[in-house]
Every structure is written in structure tokens, then in C-alpha cells.
Symmetry: C2
Subunit: 352 residues, 2 copies
Amino acid sequence: RSMATAARKSLTIGLIPADGIGKEVIPAARTAIEAVGSDIPPPKFVDLVAGFEHFTRKGVALPEETIEVLKNDCDCALFGSVSSPSKKVAGYSSPIVALRKILDLYANIRPVVSVSPDPSKPSAVDMIVVRENTECLYVKQEQQTVGEHGREARATRLITERASTRIGQMAFELALARPRKHLTVIHKSNVLSITDGLFRESVRAIPAKEPRFEAVTVAEQLVDSAVYRLFREPQIYDVMVAPNLYGDILSDAAAALVGSLGVVPSVNAGDSFVMGEPVHGSAPDIYGQGIANPVASIRSAALMLRHLGYTQAADRIDNAVDSVLREGQFLTPDLNGSAKTVQVADAIVKRI
Amino acid sequence: RSMATAARKSLTIGLIPADGIGKEVIPAARTAIEAVGSDIPPPKFVDLVAGFEHFTRKGVALPEETIEVLKNDCDCALFGSVSSPSKKVAGYSSPIVALRKILDLYANIRPVVSVSPDPSKPSAVDMIVVRENTECLYVKQEQQTVGEHGREARATRLITERASTRIGQMAFELALARPRKHLTVIHKSNVLSITDGLFRESVRAIPAKEPRFEAVTVAEQLVDSAVYRLFREPQIYDVMVAPNLYGDILSDAAAALVGSLGVVPSVNAGDSFVMGEPVHGSAPDIYGQGIANPVASIRSAALMLRHLGYTQAADRIDNAVDSVLREGQFLTPDLNGSAKTVQVADAIVKRI
Ligand SMILES: CC(C)[C@H](C(=O)O)[C@@H](O)C(=O)O
Ligand SMILES: CC(C)[C@H](C(=O)O)[C@@H](O)C(=O)O
């Protein structure tokens, strides 16, 4: 999965803090990247705008320029978080959903890992949710009509063999690289026999075409029971692969197992671009207080670098985060601490 | 919500055990109903067939006769659980999904309540998931085509103002009858602005039309964050109302909070019929050992009787279940006990 085949002279990183606490945690992630020094090519940061706040000011949630700069000038990017309007707002559509599609970032990779109190012991929770990132109900084909009994709205859920196969390949690849080599396919084909049937079949057909994946054991779970078992027996999961919406829900559910959404990172990955993104939202309730947890964004930066092939830099960041969490001296309120965003980031940077 | 306006001479109850452990737990629920004696009109039980096993034997998952008897002869029914084929099977479609629609059982009411160790203290977890039961992706309008890059499947997600309003009314009614009078509307309108937008709007518009509902406080949650918060702060929820699929996932998630899916009951309720149904599945892994937990089905029977207006009978069953769970002597393996289905049922029946 590495894109670092050719050596880069510099690494151009688009920063899109977007809304709310995104504006507090993306700067923290930047300091962590700056701290890894010569393990990566000299980073250049490009500040880019997007989000609901930008929409309310300028009437556009995802400026054309942001897209162009990402496509033409950036090697990778970090995205913060977007606010959702509390009522339907004409003309507004989520910029993160759009970016995933425009940049064809078809895989949303969300590792959910607890920090073991003893670094020599394995983590109690250690799984990766691999979420299809371009289709399902996220194609946003919706319309409303007026029928005999009032308004009727319909949305299309699209599942293709192509997208299911490529996300499946990504998931097999990730599973193969892990000690347990176990993949759970999430679906609801007892109700959605055609769409989820196609997802399931496409994923299950992969090892026959790529025999090296036969080393991976494959299980299946209906999404409802997958969430239930996630809480009861998290250890049964290693890598999970899911259609878009189930992956969205499952990764938030898994985050509850590791103490806080504030520590769960992700990358949106395609074949030629990768964008780190914390799994948490814009948290308007705490925005402005400087107490947002920067760990999810810092780990997202590490995951992005890892995806680009800078394993050593990624390890340094992750190890620094692990030790800060383990020490427990600098924790934000979501982890029952009283540290500020910048204090946690500083503590991590010192250990990088 | 009571349908017991006219006194009944007898109570005709359709029993549809269907597949797997459904065949072990529905008989247990029957013994509990029989035990309430004169608190209900003399019950008559009618054995009815449906399910995947019936489909494999007879080629039909939901016989016309089952539907006719339910419609014409029964006052209410108890449904067990259905198995899902492990591959797509031509001609098979889930009989429970079909029954909900055919009988217009538009509300799936799923109380998730823990048993407080001290009966004078409130339960730590005490919420009701009110799930829309007829539309969303469950309309099963799916088709597959072949495009340039392989197969493409599409499903329609239908949300109507009518169904959203009536499920909303049911949820407000239930919330109004509870001490906290709090309702959380679950949606994902940051992505599905038209379909989930309509669901949200329809529910929120209700109190203006029915001012007695103004006593209910209303909150909202995106489904992904709702599942996360369910695990972190279950006490924030009282009544939740959700479109079909989110309700399916949420109720399984909530079940993890109370120790086992084996204790969570539901009713599928319409304006003129009610059908009790345990939230758990057919559990092929334990079927045949006689160790399935009968509590979910017994509580579903109580919930069904409560819905019909037989409050006293329902209370007697629920109190008996509570004391058996509290005593802890007769628990099935899902609750870390070693009792058999019939032992638990007997213990409950004795206390009724
Ligand atoms: C903000 C929202 C559109 C987004 C999603 O549903 O994908 C978020 O929940 C996420 O998980 O990244
Ligand atoms: C068996 C299945 C079709 C059903 C559903 O999805 O509704 C089940 O999960 C439930 O919760 O009753």
C-alpha cells in the first residue's frame, strides 16, 4: 500500500481544518509532523478551506481552489472535521463526503487500538475497520415527491462489484499483514440480498483470484449483531470490511471501546492520494475552549505517513502518543484529564 | 395504545416459532401466558408455520395460510426467530420483514431495561427504542444491472411523511407516559438530507399539532454518534425513535448494555394487531441444546399483553422475570449461568 516508491524532495501536505475543533487539532497534528525531522522529506504545509462555516460566509462548502490545490500540488492532506447544520440548508452538502469521492479515496481505514498499560503486553482492543468510502447511501441520490399521504423521499443505495472488490482487496491486504490474519465481512444480506449480497460475494470471491489471500481466515457478521458482539467480545475482530454506512456506525461503536472518539484516527486512501482525518466530529459543545483531544489527529498524521511508506516517522509519532497516554499526566477531559490541546500536543512532540 | 377497549371472551394467540431457538423459546413464552390465569381471557393458541426451515422443506417462507389465520382468527401473535441463509437463495425472502408489512405493524417497540439488584432502586439502563417497521431499506426494492466495470446493485430507501409521523406519534406517546418524558430522534441527515431530513422534520412537527406532547423534551443524535454515546452515557436516553435500519442496529447495540440479547423483548405493533418477538436471532450455534434464554420471549409475551391492555397480567410476568434474574439461581449460559431453557421458564412460571 505504500506510495513512497520514488523518493520525494519535499512533502506537500494540504491542511483543511474545516469546522469547530478541527481548527484546534489540525495545528497540533502539524507540530507532530514537523517534529519527525529527517525521517520524512522537508514538509511544506498548504492551508486550505472547506466546511460549513466557510459555506455560511462564502456560500460554498468546498471551494474549487481547495480541490485543485489538493489534486495538483499536494502529496497528501489532513482534514479536521465538519459541522452539520441543525436544519436542512439549501445548497449545502458535506465537503468531506464530496472530497472522498472527488479524490477517489475509496478506502476509509480506521484502526481502533487501546493502549496497553504494559508496553510489552498486547492491546486489549486491536482492530481495523475498513470502510468503503465512495458509495452505499453516500452517493446522495435523493429525491422527494408528494404522494397521496404527504411527502415521500427516496434515496438510492449503490453497491458495485468494482468498489466492493477494491475495498475487499485493501482489507485482505491489511489482514494479511497482521498476526491474526482474520477478516470479518459486515453486511445485512438477510434483508438487502441484492446490494449486500453483491458486497459479500465480491469480497468473498477475492482469495480465489489472489491465492496469497488464502492465508486470511474469513468470517461474516450481520451489521446489527456485529455491533452487539463488538461490545461483548471485541477480541473476535481483527480486520472488518464494511459498506460505507455500516462502517461509519461500526467505527464510532468501536471508538467507545477505547475510551474516546478523541483518540481514533483514520485515513481516506485511494490509489494515488491519502488524506488523514480524525474519526471525531467538530464538537461545537467544546470548541473554543482549547480542550479538544489532539490524539486522533496526530495519529491520523502518523497513519497518513505510514501509508506513504514513512514507517519510521509513523512509528515515532505513534510511540510518542502511546507513552503520553500511558503516563496519563497530559490527558484532555474526554479521557478524564484536565490538560489542554496544546499541552497534550507539546508532550507528544517532546517524546517524538 | 390499548386495544382492549371491548372485553374479549377469549384471547386467540398465534404462535410462530419459526427457526432455530425460536422453537425452544416460544413454548416457554406460552407457559408464562398460561400461568397468568384469570388476568386475561382464556387463551387459545394456534400453531403457525413460517421460516427458512419451512422454506427449504416446502419452498415457501411465509405460507398464505399463516397470514390468513393471523388476520382472521388471531387477536395477537408471538414470533420466534428466523435463520438467514448463508448464501443468496432464489425465492427466499425474510418472513418477519414480510409479516410486519402485511399486518401493517408499523412500530417495533424495544424496551431495553436492566434489572436493578435492589428492587427499590431504579434500573441503571432503562430506555425504549421505537423503530419504524415498514420502510427505509426494508421496502426491499433492489435491482442489479451490469455496467462497464461489472455488476451494480441498487436499493431504494423510502422514508415517508406518513410513516415518520405515525412512528413519531407512537414515540411521543410512550415518552409522555414515562417519568423523564424525553425523546431522542435518530437520523443521519448530514448525509441523507432529504430522506432523513423528512424523518426528522416529520417527528419534530408533531408537538405543534398535538400540544399535549409539548411536555416531552426532544433531542437529536446522528446515528453514528448515537451508538457511540449509547455505550458511553446510556443514561442520556429515555425513548429513541429511529428509521428502520438504524433502529435495528441501535436495539442490538442497546442489548449489549443489559448483559444479553437473550433478555430483550419487542412488540411489532400496528393499529389493530400486535406481535411479540424476541430481539435475538435463531442462534443456530446453540439450537438443540435446550439452553436458549427464554426471557426475551417471555418478556415479549408480557409486552404484547400490556399493549392489549392487560397491564396486571403483564406486570405479573415481568415481576416474575425480574425476581428470577435478581435471584440469579436460574440463568442460561448467555448470562453466565448453567440452567436450561425449561428450568428458567419453570422458575418464572412458579413466581407468576
Ligand atoms: C460528517 C459525516 C458526513 C461523516 C460520515 O458520515 O462519513 C462522519 O460521520 C465520519 O465518520 O467521517
Ligand atoms: C432477521 C432480520 C430480518 C431482523 C431485522 O433486520 O429486522 C432482525 O435483525 C430483527 O431485529 O428483528
